[in-house]
Symmetry: C2
Subunit: 460 residues, 2 copies
């Protein structure tokens, strides 16, 4: 056991106690009127703590109309040592007893080895696990790497301040790797590393036919129904095997190697479990890929909503003037979302008949996909850290979702991002009775220490 | 000029005056609380009038929870003479000054040769034109046919009492032809006869996939999106040429003869006019047929509404649990709606993949299509009547819509139905400032007399 791990073990009780102080502050970023002062109080609490553990620089960064950012660094490992950027967020989702909590969400309660409170798992607990790891290394004089920390108070409301801050502070935030503890592992006993995230483009299709709704008796058969055109267009965007039928769509998709497919096999779910999980009568998708590969390693085109015509009770024979669909594509490395958006726009335009007018508008910002090489040195460090922390080699997971902050760091800082999560999918984040296992908290601190130690040993 | 036509001409002023008394009664069938008594007053007014003109039988038929029906007959032409059943309705659509009327809707005003009031064209005026025609024949002792009349007070609220009454009174209502004056002709100077109506089936498709909405990041690519399936299914129901792609769908469709197509050509609209009428960038449909043939002589499959997923502002990455569409088929002779509904159900079931569960439920009742042979004797009588009344041969029109009462008479009484309309599409029925040209009123009475006289001359 290293000095730092001994320090951590000796301070477990105090760490757990300190964390509860932070959890008592209702830093709900979405509720500006009620909680703006609370969000700031939480930031100030963390700033004070970082000062106590003797970080070299600690800044509370206030940007007008935004909740504060926190920057801190400890550069005592010298110029030749690697620099690790740690990200976390101290704001939380709203929570009230009316949502179904058994105990008040901002009064932490320990029960059956679990700590109940809003923010335990997402993300105050995981953020502080990183802080306590750094503390353990610094306070024992054994920190082998330089540390930068960037914490935000707006993650639950789309990270606007962070999006603004990062591109303008590339030098300040420069690092060899960014580590984020804000995700879940496979099971309590089985760690896992998310090493790929999908990107996204999102757009709305509007088709306009007649100037106003018409009577289907008087015009049906001679007017091209915009809902029919919408169905024709959207149906044509998939091939029979479930793949996306847009020219060039797959051109830049990195193929899965056999080694990677073998690694992914560990987390694949059976058809039976998948049906039980989702309630679908049968799974679907590209037959050449496993279920988890379809979600994590393959791009998609998904219809999120369609609206048009009469959708009330009973029959009404309207021939609608307008039809609308919301659609997104999840993307995988190395698809460029801006390029894919252009391909989609061009293709949909080319297949829309002249009987209607088309509008295709992007919604929200695009998200870049990402994948970390499994043998990247920082990935190896994470592998070793989890193996030491949990006594078990981690699984490797491709997440089908998109985490915009990951992209922010990758794009702007040109830095690999390691998702060193210590949560579980059953923690109830965003819902009532959010909790975190105390064992996960302690293993998380240990693993975070291991990661920083491992990073010092890898070749620069 | 016949005796009856002379009588009508002598009484023009009185007819116009009498009609205004009936128009003053706000017989709004939809507003039961306010106007049930008014609807009954209007019925009683007509009953009194029919008694005055010496109809043999005059009945006010009251059915619980319904506005009254009126039955009357005059059987003085003898057993060998044909019997004509005249249908009309004395209830009207709601109307208030707030809807945009220039003068109170139930205070008739004569202006520029037009009579303004709710119900002038739809249908009190047209109903009374038929009554005045019968009066003119009876009072001059020159009525060559037997007359039955059936008037209802619920046409604007779906004819429930009539639907109930007709099948139980087949013998009482037995006739050689049914005549309805409740439609419009082509233009003021150009009469036209609607000789075909489309039937209809209407159904709702519901597709269920996952048990609850899912996150498209976590499941997109492995779950078959019900909205995608809906688009695939609905897109597959049309061929590229606009025809319906359901096996057996066209089997019973009567082909158009060259003679009929030539007749229909008179009322076809140009692409330019069609675009101006509808606002569509371009017309659509089966290229082998003209625009009016596509609407009047061809069956269709139309999507009336689609709902599913997220349709609010902005992006949301839901993978919806459910997708719904409302669809109808307009049918033409001799398609049987019950048979077509079965074909649609079987086909949709056969093409729905096992990744979702399907429900296909009929909505409302089916409507049978109808077409009258252009050389049917009663059609010839209508042709002669219009030609004499307007001094111009009528156009022939296939309507794309469905008129359920027509089907009631055809199915239950096994009797041809002649649409002897005297309105114009510009009369503003159902809207503000409904009006009827006095010239149409007088020509209507003349034409109705001619029709009854012509019916006497045709072979039994």
């Amino acid at each position: 056991m290293t000095l730092a791990h001994e320090y951590a073990q000796q301070h477990h009780a105090r760490f757990l106690n300190d964390l509860q102080d932070l959890l008592r502050i209702p830093s709900v970023s979405a509720m500006r009127q009620e909680h703006t002062a609370d969000v700031k109080r939480a930031a100030e609490w963390i700033v004070r703590y970082l000062q106590q553990i003797e970080m070299h620089t600690v800044e509370l960064i206030e940007i007008e109309n935004h909740h504060p950012l926190i920057y801190a660094d400890w550069m005592g490992a010298g110029e030749d040592a690697p620099t690790i950027l740690i990200y976390g967020h101290y704001d939380v989702q709203p929570a009230t007893m009316e949502d179904g909590w058994d105990t008040p969400p901002f009064e932490p309660v320990l029960k059956d080895g679990k700590l109940y409170a809003r923010g335990t798992s997402d993300d105050k607990g995981q953020l502080m696990a990183q802080v306590y790891a750094v503390e353990s290394l610094i306070q024992t004089g054994s920190c082998p790497v330089n540390i930068k920390m960037l914490f935000e108070g707006e993650e639950e409301v789309s990270s606007a301040a962070l999006h603004e801050y990062v591109p303008h502070h590339r030098e300040k935030l420069a690092a060899d790797v960014c580590v984020i503890s804000d995700t879940a592992i496979y099971t309590e006993d089985q760690p896992s590393i998310v090493y790929a995230l999908r990107g996204i483009i999102y757009f709305q299709i509007d088709l306009h036919g007649p100037a106003a709704d018409l009577h289907s008796g008087g015009f049906g058969g001679a007017v091209h129904n915009p809902l029919q055109v919408l169905c024709d267009v959207l149906a044509s965007l998939h091939n029979a095997d479930g793949s996306v039928n847009i020219p060039g769509f797959y051109d830049d998709v990195l193929p899965l190697s056999e080694a990677e497919r073998t690694k992914l096999q560990a987390t694949n779910v059976s058809e039976e479990i998948f049906r039980a999980m989702t309630g679908v009568p049968q799974s679907w998708g590209e037959p050449a890929y496993t279920l988890s590969e379809r979600v994590g390693a393959r791009p998609t085109l998904e219809i999120h909503g369609i609206l048009g015509g009469f959708v009330g009770e009973g029959p009404k024979t309207v021939l609608p003037a307008h039809a609308m669909a919301k659609v997104s594509c999840r993307l995988v490395a190395n698809q460029n979302p801006n390029h894919i958006l252009k391909l989609v726009q061009e293709h949909v335009r080319s297949i829309t008949p002249p009987t209607v007018t088309l509008s295709l508008q992007p919604l929200g910002s695009v998200g870049f996909p990402s994948v970390m090489g499994l043998d990247h040195p920082s990935m190896q460090a994470a592998h070793q850290a989890y193996t030491k922390g949990w006594g078990k080699e981690p699984y490797y997971v491709r997440s089908g979702g998109s985490i915009p902050i990951v992209e922010d760091f990758q794009q702007n800082l040109n830095v690999p991002v390691i998702m060193l999560g210590f949560g579980l999918s059953t923690d109830g984040i965003h819902g009532p009775n959010e909790h975190w296992r105390v064992s996960m908290f302690y293993k998380g601190i240990d693993t975070a220490i291991h990661f920083l130690q491992e990073m010092a040993t890898i070749a620069q």
